[in-house]
């Protein structure tokens, strides 16, 4: 199958293949989704209405043998932020999609009722009835899909939260064991998919022709350098921190730095953090019978993933990421990994983003709905969502809505999206990214934590506001490229520290597209992506005033450093000036 774009419209019952426009041929991932959304979705449309579209696109090198490249992007106008959204995920789904020759899938139209499953193989694409797979949890649904279509198929889905058209409905993908645990979670894209009448996309990659590499010599040359760099860097190497402890290894260092938010961003450090740390979790996985390390997609050198389970390997959840452990744990005053695992499993099962859900529960706690630390109470709230009660519907729409409903002042959101696991008052560069990215609060959109806390790619004092605008800008540009490339963001830890590894990455891109591609071209691509997204948001009504953190972060000093966020508005506004 030649590379093409698959356009599906359940309302009209149409499925068609289109040639890839020339301007998208050498792009991938976020560059493709944001370009198509900007071209085809009216910026002022209602995110759940007939004019919004869901766009999926694998990265440029996804589906090749390039290491740690099983990433893809999902894009649309976000029901949560009201702006353009790109949510990125690592899953074998991305690789299969690329191998099937699918540059993008565009889902459009708004049928009156019912849900379909879109089945795509090398031979054809067709709609199947999904009514029996609706209104059930995704773990069960994935088992049924694998029973019917084989255990090698890959799945993208919206869960019960998507059926509720909730603003915190994520897009769920399978891990390599078929669990519903990999998420393009942020921004409510599950609601966009479900409101198009689509519940599942199932890919059967049998006989797929694979990804064309136009200059194999250049690709192999670059791959060799990149593999060497990833295998040698202390963070990304086999047996390194990420494969030994997972992303949750960050809990202790962020807590030590005073930047791990506890109890709805009221403290930056707490003596209980160790109880939910990566070190503790790695020990517990051994005791409980889970799996560590693990991969989100085949061909990953870094292997940061895992399978968290109950005792005896029962009720596998999938990975407990740093962000998820923090959001559902310390941010809610919960320091019990078993409870956090149950909360994470509920999120995965219902189709909810863990960051938004954890913040929502924390805001509900602050608003008096339950006490901080009440893990059982938090699980009951998840049941409210499962039952689709009015309380559940409120909770599934995120921290901003719940904060308003309960009269809470300390609501940690930007552009309606919850702030991740680094407090901007103690890590000021990442606060600058939260404020100014087109995405709403999103750490992956410009991961300055690398230099502020982790000393990767240089060092920047996390409490010093003076260099943070420039730092965030550069990381945002690089994220625009990385999200388009198909490479995992964690490859950045190795590429930032070693120019030859970075050069190797560029050469793999050049090898796939068949022309020279340099480190400077990475920057150009990143800037291009940001400009497209910024224009969309501006036309949707966003102004500089939306590029701000919540007021309490400038007003309330955060212990233990007792700092406020003090990067000036003028500096924030300079980030997107050219």
């Amino acid at each position: 199958m030649a590379e093409g774009i698959l356009r599906v419209n359940i309302e009209k019952g149409e499925i068609s293949y289109e040639d890839v426009p020339e301007d998208l041929q050498k792009l991938g991932g976020r560059a493709v989704t944001s370009s198509i959304v900007a071209d085809e979705v009216p910026s002022n449309c209602h995110p759940l209405g007939p004019n919004n579209k869901l766009v999926l696109a694998p990265g440029i090198v996804t589906g090749t043998s390039a290491p740690s490249s099983g990433r893809m992007s999902a894009g649309a106008k976000s029901p949560l932020t009201g702006g353009i959204k790109e949510s990125n995920v690592g899953s074998r789904f991305a690789q299969t999609m690329a191998k099937l020759g699918l540059k993008a899938i565009i889902v459009e139209g708004m049928p009156e009722d019912g849900y379909k499953l879109l089945h795509i193989s090398q031979e054809d694409a067709k709609f199947l009835d999904a009514s029996k797979l609706s209104n059930i949890g995704l773990y069960e649904a994935y088992e049924k899909i694998h029973d019917e279509f084989g255990d090698k198929v890959d799945i993208c889905s919206a869960g019960i939260a998507g059926e509720m058209k909730a603003s915190n409905a994520g897009l769920c993908f399978n891990d390599i064991d078929g669990l519903s645990s990999r998420y393009a979670g942020r921004g409510g894209l599950g609601a966009v998919m479900a409101s198009r009448g689509l519940k599942f996309i199932v890919l059967d990659g049998k006989g797929a022709s694979g990804v064309e590499i136009k200059d194999k010599e250049m690709f192999e040359r670059g791959k060799k350098k990149l593999v060497k760099g990833l295998k040698e860097h202390d963070v990304t190497k086999p047996g390194g921190a990420l494969s030994s402890f997972g992303t949750n290894v960050l809990i202790n260092i962020l807590d030590e730095s005073g930047g791990l938010p506890h109890r709805n961003f009221s403290a930056g450090s707490d003596e209980n953090a160790e109880k939910v740390s990566g070190e503790k979790k790695a020990d517990m996985i051994k005791e409980l019978g889970g799996v560590r390390p693990h991969v989100c997609s085949p061909g990953c050198i870094i292997q940061c993933s895992e399978v968290w389970t109950k005792k005896g390997g029962k009720d596998p959840v999938g990975v407990l990421e740093y962000e998820s452990v923090w959001a559902l744990g310390p941010n809610c005053g919960i320091y019990d990994l078993k409870i956090i695992g149950e909360l994470n499993r509920a999120c995965n099962d219902l189709g909810l983003d863990t960051i938004e859900m954890g913040n929502t529960i924390a805001v509900a706690m602050e608003g008096g709905m339950l006490e901080f630390g009440d893990g059982k109470g938090a699980l009951k709230l998840m049941d409210e969502i499962r039952k689709k009660t009015h309380t559940g519907r409120l909770l599934a729409n995120g921290a901003d809505l719940v904060g308003k409903a309960l009269g809470v002042y300390r609501v940690p959101t930007v552009k309606g999206q919850s702030i991740p696991a680094y407090d901007p008052r103690a890590v000021k560069g990442i606060g600058t990214t939260y404020a100014t990215t087109t995405m709403g609060a999103d750490h992956t959109a410009g991961y300055t934590v690398a230099t502020e806390i982790l000393s990767v790619g240089g060092e920047s004092d996390p409490l010093d506001p003076s260099d943070k605008a420039e730092l965030s800008k550069n990381f945002q540009i690089h994220a625009g490229f990385i999200d388009s490339s198909g490479y995992c963001l964690f490859t950045t830890f190795a590429t930032l520290d070693d120019p030859e590894t970075m050069e190797g990455m560029a050469e793999t891109i050049g090898g796939v597209i068949g022309e020279e591609f340099t480190v400077e071209d990475m920057e150009k691509m990143g800037k291009q992506v940001l400009a497209i997204e910024r224009k969309f948001n501006k036309e949707a009504g966003f102004t500089d005033k939306d590029d701000r953190l919540p007021e309490f972060m400038r007003e309330e000093p955060l212990p233990p450093h007792n700092e406020v966020y003090d990067v000036s508005d003028e500096e924030l506004d300079m980030i997107h000036e050219d």
Partner: protein, 91 residues
């Protein structure tokens, strides 16, 4: 002079043989010397071939990276929280 509690994280715990140790030291530089004398396994993890502290080892005093304080000359005492991390990352 009284003992400072030094805490270790990630794979440095294995090298140190425990989560924390007590050290009698006035500044971070002397603390590192004493640590490695008492726990030679830490030498491989913390020092480079020239015997200098590796760039990848991060020492924090009261939640601040010593690179943003006075480096190895940063003063410590029993009231200070001292933590030693290897190079780690996530997200």
């Amino acid at each position: 002079m009284t003992g400072v509690t030094v805490r270790f994280f990630a794979n440095l715990r294995e090298a140190a043989g425990s989560k924390s140790v007590q050290v009698e030291a006035e500044d971070v530089g002397s603390m590192v010397e004493i640590l490695i004398e008492k726990h030679p396994e830490l030498g491989d993890e913390m020092l480079d071939e020239k015997g200098e502290l590796k760039d990848t080892v991060k020492i924090m005093v009261d939640g601040r990276n010593i690179d943003f304080l006075e480096g190895l000359h940063t003063k410590i005492d029993k009231t200070k929280k001292v933590a030693v991390f290897p190079l780690i990352a996530g997200g």
